[in-house]
Amino acid sequence: MTPLHYYLIFAALLFSVGLAGALMRRNAILVLIGIELMLNAANLNFIAFWRYSPTANELVGLMFVLFSIGIAAAEAAVGLAIIISIYRHHRSTQLQHVDRLKG
C-alpha cells in the first residue's frame, strides 16, 4: 500500500499550486480555480488521513469531505455570480481593472 506521506506531499503540492495561482493570476476566474485547487488539496488530505486512521470506520474524514465538496460548490456559485456582476460594471474580469476603492 502506498505510504501516507505520498498522499500528503501530493496534497501539499496541489495546495501550493492552487495558492500560487490564486495569488499571481490577474483574472478573477483563474483565481477562483486556484482556490478550488486548494480546497481539493485539503479534501485529499482528509481522505488520506481517514483511510490511514485507526478509527476509519467512524467515517469522520469522509463526512468532512462530503460537506466540503458541497461548500466548495456553493462557493463557486457565489463566486461566479459576483464575477458576472463585476463583468457587468467593468466589462472585464481582470483584477487590475477593478480598482475604484482605494485608500
Binding site: 500500500m1 505510504p3 501516507l4 506521506h5 500528503l8 496534497a11 495546495f15 492552487g18 495558492l19 490564486a22 495569488l23 478573477a28 483565481v31 477562483l32 482556490i35 486548494m38 480546497l39 488539496a41 485539503a42 479534501n43 488530505n45 482528509f46 488520506a48 488521513f49 490511514y52 486512521s53 485507526p54 478509527t55 476509519a56 469522520v60 474524514g61 463526512m63 468532512f64 460537506f67 466540503s68 461548500i71 456553493a74 462557493e75 457565489v78 463566486g79 455570480a81 459576483i82 464575477i83 456582476s85 463585476i86 457587468r88 460594471h89 467593468h90 483584477l95 477593478v98 480598482d99 475604484r100 476603492l101 485608500g103
Partner: protein
C-alpha cells in the same frame, strides 16, 4: 440519538431559518406588485417576529448537555451571544428600511437571516466540521449581501475582493483543519486538546498558521485585513454594519475557543524575554501589526466608513490581546469587548447610514458631510459622540472598560508580566487613535455647516434603535458587571475544555474532560508520533 431532542436543541436556529423562508415566500408570492417601502416594512416585520421568537426560545431553553462530543453545545454564554447576534441582525434589517440599494427585499432579508444562522451555529460548536460549515454559512450570504447594490460598481468590487480573499483564507483554514484532523485523529475539541502538543512535529505549526490565517481574515486582523476597508466602504451600509458587528462577535468567539480550548497544548509564549513557539506568539504578531497599522492608517482616511474599517482593524488588535492572554479572564474580557464593540460599531454605522441617505452623494459619504451635524440634529450627534468616544476608549463608556479589562487580563497572564510590552503598545496606539476619532467629532461639533442648517430626516424606528444603542454603550460602561456576569457561569465549561488548566499529563486532562477518551488514547495519539507509526497503526487496523 433522538431527532426530536436535536430539533429542540436547534429550535432557535430552526425558527430563524423558517422566518427566512417565510419572508422570502411572502415577498415573492404575495407582495410582488406592492410598493417597495411596504415590502421592506413587511419583510422586516416578519424578521422581527421570527427573531423575537428565537430570542424567547433561547431564553426559555434549559441548558442541554453537549451533543455528540460537542457537535452542538448550548449553555448560558452561547445563548446570550446568539441573542445578541439576533438583535444585531434585526437592527441591520431596520436600518435597511427606506434605503434604495435593492429591489429584492425578500432575498435580502433571507440572506441576512441565513448568515445569522451561520453565526449562531458558529458560537455553539466544539467541532471542526460544524465550525467550518458554520463559517461558510456565515460568509457566503455576506459576500452576496455585499454585492447587493447592483447599481453601484463599488458594491460589486467590494464583494469580489471580500469573496476572493475570504475563500482564499477559507481554503487555508480547511487545509489547516485537515492537518489538525490528521495529527489528532479527530475533529472534536476534546480529541484535539488531548493529542496536540507543541514541539511534537513541525507540521503542527503549519496547521496552526493555516488555521490562524482563516480566522485572522474573518476578524480583519492585519495583514489579512485588505478586504475590510473596501467592504466597509463599498457594501450597502446596513450590510457593512452587520459585517462589522455580528460577524465579529461570532468569529472572535470561535477564534478564541478553537485556540484556547482545542489547542492549549500548542500555546507557546509571547513574553518579551523568553518567547516560545506556538500560536500565542503568532497571535501576538497579528495583534501588533493590527494595532499599529489600523490606528495609523485610519488617520489618513477621508471617508468615515473607511475610517471605521481601519479603526476596526485596530480594535481587532486589542481583542487579539485577550485571546493570547489564554486565560479564563481573557475569555471574559474578550466577550465583553466584542459585544460592546459590536453594539458601538452598529450604532456608528447606523448614524453613517442616516447621513449617507441625507447627502445622497454618488461616491458615498465623506468626513465633511458630517460638518455642523450638531446644529442639524442634536440627538443624532450626541449618539455619535457616545459611539465615537466609546471607540476611542473614553470613560464612562463601554469601550473604555472593554479595553481596560483586556489590558488587565493580558498583563496578569503569562509569567512575571512578560506580556506587559503588548499592553504598553496597545495603550500607545490607543492614544494615537484619539486623534482621528476627534477628527470626526470636530466635524460634528466644531465645524459649522455651510448655509442654514437643515434638520436631518430620521425615521422613528431608526432613531429608537440608535438611541437604544447609545444608552446601552453608556450603561454597559457604567455598570460592566451586568454583562460580565452573563459570561461567568460558563467559565467552568471553558475550563473543562482545557483553557487554563494545564494538567501535567495528557491522560489526566483527557480523564478530566471526557472519561470515554482515556481508554483508546494510545491509539488516538498514534498519528502525532513518528511517521512510520502510520503504517504500523494501519496494519493494526487491518
Amino acid at each position: 440519538m433522538n431527532y426530536m431532542e436535536l430539533l429542540g436543541a436547534l429550535a432557535p436556529e430552526a425558527i430563524v431559518v423558517l422566518t427566512a423562508l417565510v419572508a422570502l415566500a411572502v415577498d415573492l408570492l404575495v407582495l410582488r406588485q406592492a410598493p417597495q417601502n411596504a415590502r421592506q416594512v413587511v419583510a422586516v416585520s416578519i424578521t422581527a417576529v421570527g427573531i423575537l421568537a428565537a430570542i424567547i426560545a433561547l431564553s426559555v431553553a434549559a441548558p442541554s448537555p453537549p451533543w455528540m462530543d460537542g457537535l452542538l453545545i448550548n449553555h448560558s454564554t452561547t445563548a446570550f451571544l446568539k441573542q445578541t447576534l439576533l438583535v444585531l441582525a434585526l437592527v441591520a434589517g431596520i436600518l435597511s428600511i427606506q434605503s434604495r440599494f435593492t429591489q429584492h427585499t425578500g432575498e435580502y432579508v433571507t440572506l441576512l437571516l441565513l448568515s445569522t444562522v451561520g453565526m449562531m451555529l458558529l458560537v455553539s460548536s466544539d467541532n471542526l466540521l460544524l465550525m467550518f460549515v458554520a463559517l461558510e454559512l456565515t460568509s457566503l450570504p455576506l459576500y452576496v449581501l455585499t454585492a447587493f447594490n447592483k447599481e453601484s460598481p463599488s458594491s460589486s468590487e467590494a464583494s469580489l475582493k471580500y469573496f476572493l480573499i475570504g475563500s482564499l483564507s477559507a481554503a487555508c483554514l480547511l487545509f489547516g483543519i485537515s492537518l489538525l484532523y490528521g495529527l489528532s485523529g479527530g475533529i472534536t475539541w476534546t480529541q484535539l486538546a488531548t493529542t496536540l502538543r507543541a514541539g511534537s512535529e513541525p507540521i503542527v505549526y503549519l496547521a496552526l498558521i493555516l488555521t490562524l490565517i482563516g480566522f485572522a481574515f474573518k476578524v480583519a486582523a492585519a495583514p489579512f485585513h485588505l478586504w475590510a476597508p473596501d467592504v466597509y466602504q463599498g457594501a450597502p451600509t446596513p450590510v457593512a454594519a452587520f459585517i462589522a458587528s455580528g460577524s465579529k462577535i461570532a468569529s472572535f468567539y470561535m477564534f478564541a475557543r478553537i485556540f484556547m480550548a482545542a489547542l492549549p497544548g500548542t500555546a507557546g509564549s509571547a513574553a518579551w524575554s523568553g518567547a516560545t513557539p506556538g500560536w500565542v506568539p503568532l497571535v501576538a504578531a497579528l495583534a501588533v501589526v493590527s494595532m499599529i497599522l489600523g490606528n495609523v492608517a485610519a488617520i489618513a482616511q477621508r471617508s468615515v466608513k473607511r475610517l471605521l474599517a481601519y479603526s476596526a482593524i485596530g480594535h481587532a488588535g486589542y481583542a487579539l490581546l485577550a485571546i493570547l492572554s489564554n486565560t479564563e479572564q481573557g475569555m471574559g474580557s474578550l466577550l465583553y469587548y466584542v459585544v460592546t464593540y459590536a453594539v458601538t460599531a452598529m450604532g456608528a454605522f447606523a448614524v453613517v447610514n442616516v447621513i449617507e441617505r441625507d447627502v445622497q452623494a454618488p461616491n458615498g459619504e465623506s468626513l465633511t458631510d458630517f460638518a455642523g451635524l450638531s446644529r442639524r440634529s442634536p440627538l443624532l450627534s450626541l449618539c455619535l459622540l457616545v459611539f465615537v468616544l466609546s471607540l476611542a476608549g473614553i470613560p464612562p463608556l463601554a469601550g473604555f472598560f472593554g479595553k481596560f479589562y483586556i489590558f488587565i487580563a493580558t498583563a496578569q497572564s503569562g509569567t512575571s508580566q512578560g506580556l506587559i510590552w503588548l499592553v504598553m503598545l496597545a495603550i500607545g496606539t490607543s492614544a494615537i487613535s484619539l486623534y482621528y476619532y476627534l477628527q470626526i467629532l470636530k466635524q460634528v461639533y466644531v465645524v459649522e455647516s455651510v448655509g442654514q442648517p437643515t434638520p436631518v430626516q430620521l425615521r422613528p424606528a431608526e432613531s429608537a434603535c440608535i438611541v437604544a444603542m447609545a444608552c446601552t454603550v453608556l450603561i454597559l460602561g457604567c455598570a460592566p458587571n451586568w454583562l460580565i456576569n452573563r459570561f461567568s457561569p460558563n467559565s467552568t465549561e471553558v475550563r473543562r475544555a482545557g483553557v487554563i488548566t494545564k494538567p501535567s499529563t495528557t491522560l489526566e486532562l483527557a480523564a478530566e474532560i471526557h472519561p470515554r477518551i482515556t481508554a483508546p488514547l494510545g491509539t488516538a495519539t498514534g498519528l502525532v508520533q513518528k511517521r512510520p507509526q502510520f503504517e504500523t497503526t494501519t496494519a493494526n487496523a487491518q
